[in-house]
């Protein structure tokens, strides 16, 4: 039974904390004299920290439907709230250190960042297509602004323009798909839509709607062929935002993809403990192909890149491809593998981008050739980057390996061998380009041998990211258990 508006507020505290912080930031911006002060950053940290705490305290066991069925409060939503809030906290630390953002108006930046976070909170919990569309746009629109935040720098503005054009088109196509679903079923509740479609018999409009919705979600997770925006945006945007977009909205995109498709186009088969496709459209095969193509394109194009940010952009496309493997299996273990991989991916990917920021602060460059001799110039940063890159490759004993083991194990368990073979080949390709950066850092002579100082604060943040990356490679059981417990979807 869905709760009413006022009764829901008590279960809505993380979102309220973020909203209050955003409004406070507006007040700070309007009332404050100094646009470059650190106050907005600290205020955002406090607000997001409070939201993280409140989300972690929410009871995961009892699934609830809030606001007359608009959003759900379940383990799945809470997991993603905690994940995205954690990513935002790390990104705030990165932004405080970033040389690119120095001298820009601070409060506005954090208003946009926290708006995206609020959108992600709502997106991962939406159970109604109206709410889903609104929260997706709440994630997208401030992201456009953040990508273009370095106003006056050509690459950043250009990135924002491309992002707007692709993003607006993708969401327009998606919502046309929603209108088809509404027309077919006469309801906006995704649970109701799923039930109505299960009894209907019109494969063609359903297929059309599924494809159109896939465009919108595929855009968010940057799956090929909807990835065209991501390399440009990742390269042009300020680096903390690149890191943020590659982790936060991507994770939220996966959350909504899973919740939407598993509710609307599939239904739980309680006896077997898995989901089964409820309409006649076999979309799992479609996504299987999408997964294989995404990882192959991401990895193969990454090989030739000379800009580190662009390389990491293609690598993050490839990782979306790996995670899609877990999505097509329709099993709880497959979903658990995605959630676990997202946790691991958060630490290793944000870590890699953090080192990119630190190096760019010193050298003003993002070219791989300028990383030569980093092993002697800034040993701490270089060793950290090596850890993150090997983890991204998926080599034991780093955590990325465990993440991949979970995904591969379930793919093989369900007998989708061709996908496992494609993914294994892709991992080999990825070793080549990740190892290339490590080789440049440690084996090539530096062009400029002056030391790059890494102050204490970035060091501690790097430790915070590197320790889980290492630790989860040897002791991953608690996180895996949390992920397994979080795979509890609300079937309204």
């Amino acid at each position: 039974m869905p709760l009413g508006n006022f009764a829901s507020l008590i279960h809505f505290l993380p979102e309220l904390a973020v909203t209050a912080t955003i409004l406070l930031l507006v007040v700070v911006h309007v009332a404050g004299k100094n646009r470059q002060s650190a106050a907005p950053a600290l205020l955002s940290l406090a607000g997001v920290g409070a939201a993280l705490l409140l989300a972690a305290l929410q009871p995961a066991s009892a699934g609830r439907s809030l606001f007359e069925g608009m959003v759900a409060l379940d383990g799945f939503a809470i997991f993603f709230k905690a994940l995205t809030a954690l990513a935002t906290i790390v990104v705030i630390f990165m932004s405080m250190d970033s040389g690119e953002l120095a001298g820009r108006s601070q409060a506005e930046y954090y208003i946009f960042l926290l708006s995206v976070l609020l959108g992600m909170f709502l997106l991962t919990a939406s159970t109604d297509i109206v709410m889903l569309y609104l929260s997706l746009e709440l994630v997208s629109i401030p992201s456009y602004l953040l990508a273009g935040y370095l106003k006056g720098r050509e690459s950043s503005t250009e990135a924002a323009m491309k992002y707007v054009v692709y993003g607006a088109t993708a969401s327009g196509v998606m919502i046309y798909g929603f209108s088809l679903l509404y027309g077919l079923t006469g309801t906006t509740q995704i649970g109701e839509i799923g039930r109505a479609l299960a009894t209907g018999d019109a494969p063609l409009p359903v297929l059309l709607a599924a494809v159109m919705v896939t465009v919108g979600f595929g855009f968010k997770i940057a799956a090929v062929p909807f990835h065209m925006w991501s390399p440009d945006v990742y390269e042009g945007a300020p680096t903390p935002i690149t890191a943020f977009l590659s982790v936060g909205p991507k994770a939220a995109g996966f959350a909504v993809l899973v919740r939407f498709f598993y509710t609307v186009f599939a239904s739980p088969d309680v006896a077997a403990g898995v989901w089964k496709i409820s309409s006649r459209v076999d979309w799992t095969l479609l996504f299987g192909v999408l997964s294989a193509v995404t990882m192959s394109v991401g990895n193969l194009v990454a090989v030739n890149q000379t800009n580190v940010k662009r390389l990491l952009a293609y690598s993050s496309i490839a990782h979306a491809g790996y995670m899609l493997m877990g999505f097509v299996l329709l099993t709880p273990a497959g979903l658990q593998a995605i959630l676990f991989y997202l946790v691991v991916y958060l630490f290793m990917n944000l870590g890699a981008f953090y080192v990119v920021i630190l190096v760019a602060n010193g050298t003003r460059s993002e070219n791989i050739s300028d990383y030569s001799g980093l092993g002697s110039r800034a040993p701490f940063a270089a060793v950290s980057l090596a850890i993150f890159l090997f983890a991204l490759t998926g080599i034991p004993p780093f955590s990325g390996f465990i993440g991949k083991v979970y995904l591969f194990a379930e793919v093989i368990n369900r007998g989708v061998y061709w996908l496992a073979v494609v993914a294994a080949l892709n991992s080999v390709v990825s070793l080549y380009y990740y190892a290339r950066i490590v080789k440049v850092m440690f084996l090539e002579d530096p062009k400029d041998s002056t030391e790059l100082p890494v102050p204490l604060f970035p060091r501690s943040v790097l430790c915070f990211l590197a320790i889980p990356t290492l630790l989860l490679g040897v002791y991953w059981e608690p996180v895996a258990r949390v992920a397994a417990n979080s795979v509890k979807l609300l079937a309204f």
């Binding site: 569309y133 746009e137 456009y144 602004l145 054009v165 607006a168 919502i175 929603f178 027309g183 194009v301």
Partner: protein, 100 residues
């Protein structure tokens, strides 16, 4: 109660025009306008279906889409102005600092 077929047809045609505009035009302003046409096509579909079923949700959704369209247009135009100030053009094929 009314037959929604004609309205759905109108919506489909509008959406097609919007997509064609996005794909074929090079002027960023016209692309943004085409996106607006796409969103308005969606509005027509929602209102037609909602009115056919006697369900207010369709009209509410249309209001929400209008709001989002306004926000998207505001942000899109602001970025467009920023691009124009830097490059003196809004032809998206001229955006070539970032490429493969």
């Amino acid at each position: 109660m009314m037959e929604p077929t004609a309205y759905l047809l109108l919506s489909g045609i509008l959406f097609g025009i919007g997509v064609a505009g996005v794909v074929a035009r090079k002027n960023a302003l016209i692309i943004l306008m085409s996106v607006e046409i796409m969103l308005n096509a969606v509005n027509v579909a929602f209102i037609a279906v909602g009115s056919h079923l006697g369900d207010p949700t369709g009209s509410i959704f249309a209001f929400m889409v209008m709001t989002v369209a306004a926000a998207e247009a505001a942000v899109g135009l602001a970025i467009l102005i920023a691009i124009y100030r830097l490059k003196e053009t809004i032809d998206i094929t001229e955006l070539s600092v970032l490429k493969w």
